[in-house]
Amino acid sequence: MGKISLEVNGRKFEKEAPDNTLLSTFLREHLQLTGTHIGCDTSQCGACVVHVDGNSLKSCTALAADVNGSKVTTIEGLETNGKMHPMQEAFKKLHGLQCGFCTPGMVMSAVDLLQKNKKPSDTEIRDWLEGNICRCTGYQNIVAAVKEASTKM
């Protein structure tokens, strides 16, 4: 057991957790932030992507202890005053999701891309989303949504 201190979506949390607690488990089960999804649990699908200190990572492949003291942003932290983030708006407008399971990770990953590359090409978007798997949409609308968001951010 150890004390985990994290700033998640602007709020400070301090909780005791066993050393083998994954960041994804910590977010979902200790902080009840269930927007972060666990898909494959073997670090392939990317449904669990969150931002830690400004960079995207797969929260199922990081220990909570390992990111102790960091600032974390999850899908719940993207909206401002009840208004969706431009990336969320774009996914909604362009049908960048069907079942929605991969969406939190897809959106978090895409937001990280636009933080680093404001006007990515289609190829750059596809390359960046390498670690996010969607089994419904066929990616076309996802890429279109990221492109759309890049004009609004």
Binding site: S43, K58, T61, L63, E130, G131
Partner: protein, 261 residues
């Protein structure tokens, strides 16, 4: 995942003091954590070395590029110094896994793990790297011992990897479309005295292809290795590629690398 004790070491000395026969060093955790989750590995203690400041960073001198063991792939691919000194090393880092892996995974972790399909071991062989540990310096040619095996002893920690700057070099890989691991990756580096052709993904461990090295040392042109028929008997066969296909890919990628130099 089975329980363990997590430790964050302040320096290499503390890290190796904490090490035991049932411990592992934790850097990016890109292999360690999934292996533990799948039950392929269990440890009593995980010793996090990411917070050891000395282990991160990139230094370029006239002859070499030295990268701290806990330096992340994204830091190597974004480094202007690396791009200038050894562009092929920068693009190798850019092609590892996906952005989330590159944001987290480290060069030292990749080398210590010595996955037969990992990218960095080929860079170490091609660029005549010296592996600096907390105990000694090891030449890359003596470091990679076999599948997931290295010359590292228990409690021995990689601190930095020193790459020799070549005259010309290129890394070409045929990636697995899902994982981006190399089905075959070939790193060709032309040094003043000789040429290295380091191959990853083809056999159980990275190796320097002597036949192609010799041919290219005589005449550094892709035509000098055109038509070389490599022995595929020790090459890997799996659902992605047969040994014969890998043997053919090694030559194709080597030629591509020479042409890209």
């Amino acid at each position: 995942m089975k329980d363990f004790n997590y430790h964050s070491a302040k320096d290499s000395k503390e890290a190796s003091k904490l090490a035991s026969s049932s411990s592992a060093f934790l850097a990016g955790g890109m292999t360690t954590i999934p292996s533990m989750k799948l039950g392929l590995a269990t440890y009593k203690d995980l010793i996090d070395i990411k917070n050891i400041k000395k282990l991160s960073g990139i230094k370029v001198s006239g002859k070499s590029v030295t990268i701290g063991a806990a330096t992340k792939h994204v830091e190597v691919s974004n480094s202007k110094d690396v791009k200038k000194a050894i562009p092929s090393l920068s693009s190798l880092a850019e092609g590892i896994g996906d952005p989330q892996v590159r944001n987290r995974g480290t060069i030292g972790g990749s080398i210590a793990n010595n996955d037969p399909s990992a990218d960095y071991p080929s860079a170490c062989i091609a660029l005549n790297a010296t592996i600096h540990t907390n105990e000694r310096k090891i030449e890359a040619a003596k470091f990679f011992k076999g599948m997931f095996e290295t010359a590292l002893k228990k409690g021995e920690l990689i601190e930095a990897i020193e790459f020799q700057i070549p005259e010309k070099s290129s890394y070409q890989k045929h990636p697995n479309p899902a994982s981006r691991y190399a089905i075959v990756g070939v790193y060709v580096a032309k040094h003043k005295a000789d040429v290295n052709v380091a191959v990853t993904g083809a056999k159980s461990c990275v190796y320097n292809d002597k036949e192609m090295s010799k041919a290219l040392s005589g005449n550094f042109s892709s035509s000098s290795i055109d038509g070389i028929d490599l022995d595929s008997s020790e090459m890997n066969t799996d659902m992605h590629a047969s040994a014969e296909f890998r043997a053919s890919l090694v030559v194709t990628q080597a030629k591509k690398a020479v042409d890209a130099c």
